[in-house]
Amino acid sequence: MRAVLRIVLPIALIAALVGLWQIAASTGWIAEALNLEPFLVPSPAEVGDAIWNNRTLLWENTWVTLREILFGLLAGAAVGVGLATAMRFSRVLRDAVFPLTVAVQAVPIVVIAPILVVWFGYGIGPKVVIVAFAVFFPITVNLLDGLRAVDPEAVKMMRTLDASRWATFRRVEVPTALPYFFSGAKVAVAIAPIVALFAELAGSNAGLMRLIVQDNANLEIARVFAATVILIAIGVLLVGLTALAQRLVVTWR
């Protein structure tokens, strides 16, 4: 019963809100209250129409933004996993690199995004770099915490069972760290789309943010909403897939 409610309730709530918006927009109440032209306040049905009628354009731009997000996440995760592993194996490296990692993470993306556009142009490359830049830190820090959370007694036990440093890492430390890794990955996945949009804002020749900026200037508000709905769907999908991956991998909790 609770399991059913947990699925039905949020869907019912969202449907109710969309319905409310439909009524408020199609009757013109919102436009009237804000003293606007009705076409500036599209109803959900009109947004749906905008998605369908502009599906090719939207898909082309979605594909660009999606690639920025996914490649950025992959690159950031690779750097995060590599850094955390290296820092786990070498104390010297950790002492040397960790402060730098914190400093790098503190560099405002708002500042470097336009510089990267100047250096590397309007393509997808600089966006991938910026997303990776933003997501590697939560992954590095969480994974490193996880690797260090290992039970010292379990390490002793492994040593008397003839485990090499690598065997202990692989069979005890990595599984211990996996739930921590996924905590970091969830943060990464949640911020990646925002960062990708911001990177496009700093200068781009394609992508959903570029489309939104253009459409907003041309008062194509229905299509702005359409792009927003797609972005929400991407965000929900990424978080959902990460949670699913965690459930499939971390089966012992």
Binding site: D151, E153, A154, K156, M157, M158, R159, T160, L161, D162, A163, S164, A167, R171, V172, P175, T251, W252, R253
Partner: protein
């Protein structure tokens, strides 16, 4: 103490301290091949530290120690398998993969390691639970898997640190009988840390009573019926009860 091949574990004048805190004081201890020696003493008397030193997980501050003829830490580590107080079964591995850990660590393939460890499951009363995760097993079964994991390592010396402390009284008595049977069938040199005198006197050939910190040896007692088949009979036998009284008196003296 003479040095010969039948001596499996030997400590001479062994002391240890954690910084200022002295934990063990001039311990002389020997266990012959196939002998079970129990260490009993008040909490914090350094029993576990002594086990870790013998196993090569720590070095003594002064004194000598050897296990299986090896004096260096790496050599001792190669001859001892350590079963910690908590079972420390890895929750991400099945019971079978936990039992096979030592084989995998030495580079055996998964199938080969599973075959070798799995062959012992029947004898340990674990048949049918190979694929179970540790969290699905009862306390007694978990301890058996942990012991199996220690045994599969194939080391001549087993160091058991209060293996049944986490179990309730009934399962503990059951597991003691079970361990006695396992050791009758597969004789090893065992150092057993316990805070339960009855358990120590039943399972061990010899019981070494340690004092409160810093731990030093108060007395050594021979057990009348080590690992007897009928446990209930053995532990109520007058000879057993007399030795147990002795041990209790020594333990009280040492605790002061």
């Amino acid at each position: 103490m003479r040095k010969d091949n039948s001596v499996s574990v030997a400590a001479r004048g062994l002391s240890h301290s954690y910084g200022e805190l002295r934990s063990l004081q001039r311990i002389d201890l020997a266990a012959a091949d196939g002998e079970v020696v129990a260490l009993v003493g008040p909490s914090g008397c350094g029993k576990s530290t002594l086990l870790e030193i013998v196993c090569g997980l720590r070095e003594p501050s002064t004194g000598e120690v050897e296990a299986g003829g090896a004096a260096g830490a790496t050599g001792r580590l190669a001859h001892c398998a350590y079963m910690p107080q908590r079972d420390l079964l890895l929750p991400w591995f099945s019971a079978l993969d936990n039992a096979a850990l030592a084989l995998r660590n030495r580079g055996a393939g998964k199938a080969e390691a599973r075959r070798e460890a799995g062959a012992l499951f029947e004898r340990f009363g674990l048949a049918g639970f190979e694929g179970a995760r540790p969290q699905e097993l009862s306390g007694g079964m978990r301890q058996r898997v942990a012991f199996l994991r220690t045994l599969v390592a194939g080391k001549p010396v087993l160091a058991l640190d209060e293996p049944f402390a986490s179990l309730d009284a009934i399962s503990r008595a059951e597991m003691q009988g079970w361990l006695a049977g396992a050791l009758r069938a597969d004789s090893r040199t065992v150092l057993l840390v316990s805070h339960d005198i009855e358990e120590a006197l039943y399972l061990a050939d010899r019981v070494v009573v340690l004092s409160a910190r810093p731990g030093r040896i108060v007395t050594e007692l021979s057990a009348p019926h080590p690992r007897a088949e009928d446990r209930d009979h053995a532990v109520t036998d007058p000879a057993f009860v007399t030795v147990r009284e002795h041990a209790l008196v020594s333990l009280r003296e040492g605790a002061r």
